[in-house]
């Protein structure tokens, strides 16, 4: 009797049982709320696309683009990475720009961002942070307009570099003071996204464009 009580299992059974019960209930919560959260993110993405493509305020451009989405799959060391790409079309059907959704590891948790590119994929037209859990007051400044706007207008030909102090060169990004890791994380995501997606950013055949109608 005493031996059962003193065994590891006798001590820890409540913790184990609670872990199972709590995991099951969290799974149930996630199954119910997960789709709603994804829908919220998609809605926000759709709202941000005109801003990211034009660099202008959303109120000026609401509803003037047709948006279709596609996937770009990239093989990397045998692992297929999939990017969601939103193509924005003007009313006359010409491509106004692309927005790529990308994810990468930040300092705290995964950073999810939207990257706006011009029709040829040569210039960055916008950057928006969809989801982040960086340190409040330091790393979470990656969401600030002033910092994000550094990326706008940068060429996608050479990878961006994070520098401390004043950025001088065309391809340099100022680090947030006290949050170099978060600044690098965002820049790394941007660089690898461009490297992966750029060769395939042009809409493949005109057939694809018809599909959206």
């Amino acid at each position: 009797m005493g031996s059962i009580k003193n065994s590891n299992l006798g001590q820890a059974w409540l913790v184990l049982l609670l872990s199972i019960v709590f995991s099951v209930s969290l799974t149930a919560v996630h199954l119910n709320l997960g789709p709603v959260i994804e829908e919220n993110k998609t809605k926000e993405t759709m709202k941000k696309i005109p801003v990211l493509v034009t660099g202008k305020d959303s109120s000026e451009y609401a509803g003037t683009f047709d948006i279709s989405s596609r996937f770009i799959n990239v093989d990397k060391n045998g692992i297929t990475k999939s990017y969601t790409v939103y193509d924005a079309f003007d009313k006359d059907g010409t491509v106004a720009g692309h927005v790529v959704k990308a994810t990468g590891q930040g300092y705290g948790d995964k950073i999810e961002l939207l990257l706006g590119l011009d029709p040829d994929g040569k210039t960055i037209t916008g950057l928006f942070i969809l989801d982040q859990k960086e340190t409040p007051g330091l790393g979470n400044k990656i969401v600030d307009d002033a910092w994000r706007n550094q990326y706008v207008g940068k060429s996608s030909d050479s990878p961006l570099v994070v520098v401390k102090g004043k950025s001088a060169d065309e391809n340099e990004i100022d680090a947030i003071s006290g949050a170099t890791i978060s600044s690098r994380a965002v820049t790394d995501i941007v660089n690898s996204t461009i490297a992966d997606v750029k060769p395939k950013i042009m809409i493949p055949a005109s057939g694809n464009k018809m599909e959206k109608n």
Binding site: V15, L33, K133
Partner: protein, 204 residues
């Protein structure tokens, strides 16, 4: 062992006599961080209330099964579960608010107010007492958060809940919505509460 307070005493104590912020100085991180407006402050207070109520009830239900040296693990596990539910719920139905509060909702896990109530009350008393303790403490916490937030939002932006209260000529004290404003406000309010307390006890 001394007599434990009853449900009503627990409830009343939580609101003012043992107010989590002004009397116990617990849960100060959110008190400073999310009180630059009434809306985030109220959302935070409601989330804490939900987590505290849930954790107190669960811990109280299993209090006789707890092993003393494993109790903190059980508390943390329980709190983390309720925090995750609150976080997901906000992300699903209050998306913008969830983005504003960012990591502060997940950080409720380390809010010492909740683990303190589990330890002091829920792990020793019945479900009914634990629940009224949670409600009382939550009301006290909500009052404390909104008192700080009201001062900061009013002086910092001239608004309450985003609605303009002070005349447009009010020069917004921007420092009040920035982090230093949180320390200044909390310090002055704490001083005020202590001063009122001293006056009261002086008379008796």
């Amino acid at each position: 062992m001394a007599d434990q307070p009853t449900a009503i005493e627990r409830f009343i104590n939580g609101i003012l006599p043992e107010n989590p912020v002004y009397r116990q100085l617990l849960g100060l991180c959110p008190t400073l961080a999310v009180t630059n407006g009434m809306k985030p402050a109220i959302t935070m207070a409601c989330s804490v209330a939900f987590v505290l109520l849930g954790a107190n009830i669960v811990v109280s239900l299993i209090r006789n099964l707890l092993k003393p040296h494993l109790r903190i693990v059980v508390f943390t596990l329980t709190i983390a579960t309720f925090v995750t539910i609150a976080d997901r719920f906000l992300a699903a139905y209050f998306f913008q608010m969830s983005k504003t509060l960012g990591p502060y909702i997940p950080l409720i896990i380390v809010n010492c107010l909740i683990i303190c109530r589990c330890e002091v009350c829920a792990s020793k008393q019945t479900v009914f007492v634990a629940a009224s303790d949670a409600i009382g403490q939550s009301i006290g916490y909500g009052l404390a958060l909104s008192s700080v937030a009201a001062v900061r939002e009013l002086l910092g932006t001239g608004c309450l809940f985003g609605v303009a209260i002070l005349p447009a000529s009010w020069p917004d004290w921007v420092i009040m919505v920035l982090p230093p404003g949180a320390f200044i406000t909390l310090g002055l309010l704490l001083g005020l509460v202590n001063w009122i307390d001293m006056k009261k006890s002086g008379k008796n």
